[in-house]
């Protein structure tokens, strides 16, 4: 027989019927800001970016603002790499090899065209496939061999960079050869705005003897002409938009966040953690290869010793961290990485135009990294 129950629940009779409602009366300004940042983590880098642009415009005068399009051109490679890096960091990993993958893939695109005589389109496709394949190797090491991402990609970085030098025999393919024989490789360096103006003026029978002067009497066309936009920049912006959509509005995107947040919970809740991680590393490799393609556009030549191979990794991580994406995974938005890359570009260009010692740039960026992570920790306190 069951014991006489103490019937402790009888005390519930007159209890309030609300279940665990909470008092949200604590709405001091600071708490509200903390809450807003918690919901929209890319707000911090956006604010920093706007402030930086305003400060530099005030300091350097109106000549700074038109240079913003130049900033985009300068950061397109790091920006695209940062998108790849974001995906991996969202899963609480890190990819030290993205820069090396970019350089190696640009070499593959160039050598496949010039050494084997493949059509440039095929060579580009091979380069992109190689990027995804290298990403797959990292993914395999992380998911199957269970090597921590830092170590796995540290190894892959060295291997890919060495393979890059060995395979290319450290030969640079000159810009002129590419322009004459395989202009498609440089496609991401072309400027659609200039193409448009030329096309429009040819249509109306206007031609110039050598290059088009910056000032003609057509104000609108002049404006478009001077906007320094390349296809590479458009690809960077387009990729950001696509990834933002995928991460936000598809099941795969939600799984990426869940895996970074708590892999065991995600697994128990029905996410295929290994497959998600694998796809993330492969996609990161593919995006890094796109960055490699845009390198050919930016530098016009294919060089296996481009600095991106060594510095691209750290620069992309810098952009991601400044963009407010948590290195612990599961938090942050892809726009943060985008803004982070632009912030670095604005500092570089602004301080360069001001003519100060370039070391100040690095000092500022270093400070920004630490502040960004400190803010991340503060925002997380909302949870406790």
């Amino acid at each position: 027989m069951a014991e006489t129950p103490d019937n402790y629940e009888s005390g519930l009779k007159d209890a309030s019927q609300n279940v665990a409602s909470f008092d949200s009366a604590d709405t001091s300004v600071v708490t509200r800001i903390q809450g807003a940042l918690h919901k929209t983590p890319s707000l911090v880098p956006l604010i920093v970016l706007v402030c930086a642009i305003m400060i530099f415009t005030g300091w350097l005068g109106p000549r700074f603002l038109p240079q913003m399009t130049l900033v985009f051109q300068q950061i397109q490679i790091v920006g695209i790499l940062a998108l790849a890096q974001t995906l991996v960091i969202l899963t609480a990993g890190i990819d030290l090899s993205v820069g090396a993958i970019a350089v190696f893939c640009s070499v593959i695109m160039g050598q496949f065209t010039f050494r084997y005589g493949l059509p440039p389109a095929v060579a580009v496709a091979c380069g992109l496939a190689a990027g995804a394949a290298i990403g797959a190797v990292s993914g395999w090491l992380v998911t199957r061999v269970r090597i921590p991402p830092f170590i796995a990609t540290l190894g892959v970085w060295q291997i890919v960079l060495a393979a890059n030098y060995i395979y290319s025999k450290n030969e640079t393919i000159r810009a002129r050869d590419i322009r004459e024989e395989a202009p498609m490789l440089q496609w991401l360096g072309l400027k659609p705005n200039e193409q448009f103006v030329t096309w429009f003026e040819t249509l109306r029978g206007i031609t110039y003897e050598r290059i088009r002067p910056n000032d003609t009497d057509q104000f609108l066309l002049d404006l478009i002409w001077q906007t320094k936009i390349t296809y590479g920049v458009l690809v960077m912006i387009g990729l950001t938009i696509v990834l933002a959509y995928v991460l936000r509005s598809t099941a795969w995107g939600r799984h990426v966040y869940a895996v970074g947040d708590d892999p065991e919970a995600a697994e128990l809740a029905g996410v295929n953690v290994k497959r998600t991680l694998m796809s993330v590393y492969m996609l990161a490799g593919l995006i890094a290869a796109i960055a490699g393609w845009s390198m050919i556009g930016r530098f016009a030549s294919v060089s296996p010793s481009a600095s991106t191979g060594l510095e691209g990794n750290i620069e992309s991580i810098t952009a991601v961290v400044i963009g407010g994406i948590s290195l612990f995974g599961g938090r942050g938005s892809i726009w943060g990485a985008f803004f982070g890359a632009v912030i670095v570009g604005v500092f570089m260009l602004g301080l360069g135009m001001a003519g100060v010692n370039p070391q100040w740039t690095f000092m500022l960026i270093g400070t920004l990294i630490i502040v960004a992570v400190a803010i991340d920790q503060w925002i997380r306190k909302v949870t406790t």
Partner: protein
């Protein structure tokens, strides 16, 4: 009695030298609430994980509705209609309530947006999530899209229970569902358990809370040293009997072992 809906025979699981399951048998009959009690380290959790696919047993068989099954992952078990609320809840703190409820089985929008662009149908998922939380009496959650980490412990548990109750079609396993809950929230969960049984879905309830087990369960499986010691009827046994059996203070009568 009818045939068991979920049955395990001779389940064995070792972790190195530790034997967590030692030729354990288990039966769950249609429409019942089966309590599983046992001391810490008796192997309750391993038994539950073996039934829900989170652990692959070293030996033994699991039968669901007369069919032999072997689950390689929790997803296999879920596809077979077995839903589990784990002690750790298995929720992703940074994601919203809706995201968590539909994790791994998201709804896509109809037509080209869903098929080609894989766009999630957030409106439909939110609607469903809100309704399920209302069923649980968790309507004071202000915003169905707030991250789970902003919820209290009890509310998080509510989300996990709502997820299992919403999708479990054959068996629902609840591992310590009331452990983190207050008196009032526990009551809601117990009412929900009875609701689910009224819908004809059998439940396995693992709990240390004897009053809760004895209140809602039809039969109680006593687990000791990696196997089933006996099955007792809460109407004919007292809580102190149960505690004595599971701690080894008292040996059950021989006839109980066949129950």
């Amino acid at each position: 009695m009818s045939d068991p809906i979920l049955k395990a025979v001779n389940l064995t699981k070792r972790y190195g030298k530790v034997v967590a399951l030692d030729h354990c048998d288990f039966e769950l009959y249609p429409g019942e609430i089966l309590g599983v009690i046992g001391d810490n380290g008796a192997g309750k959790s391993t038994l539950i994980k073996a039934l829900s696919g989170a652990v692959v047993p070293d030996g033994g068989e699991v039968w669901l509705e007369g069919q032999k099954v072997s689950f390689g992952s929790p997803n296999d078990a879920r596809h077979a209609g077995i839903e589990t609320v784990y002690q750790t809840l298995a929720v992703s703190p940074a994601l919203s309530i809706t995201d968590n409820l539909f994790m791994g089985r998201e709804l896509r929008q109809p037509g080209i947006m869903g098929k080609v662009f894989r766009r999630l149908d957030k409106a439909r998922m939110e609607e469903f999530a809100r309704q399920k939380l209302n069923d649980l009496g968790l309507m004071t959650i202000q915003n169905i899209n707030q991250p789970v980490e902003t919820l209290s412990g009890g509310q998080r548990q509510g989300v996990a229970v709502a997820r299992a109750a919403a999708f479990g079609s054959k068996v629902i396993i609840l591992d310590e569902p009331t452990a983190a809950l207050g008196v009032k929230e526990s009551r809601r969960v117990l009412e929900l358990i009875k609701d689910v049984r009224a819908r004809g879905i059998p439940i396995i309830l693992i709990s240390h809370n004897m009053p809760h087990v004895f209140e809602v369960c039809d039969r109680v499986h006593v687990h000791r040293l990696g196997k089933r010691l006996c099955v007792i009827d809460p109407k004919t046994h007292s809580m102190s009997d149960a505690v004595a059996y599971m701690t080894g203070a008292k040996e059950p009568d021989q006839h109980l072992e066949d129950a």
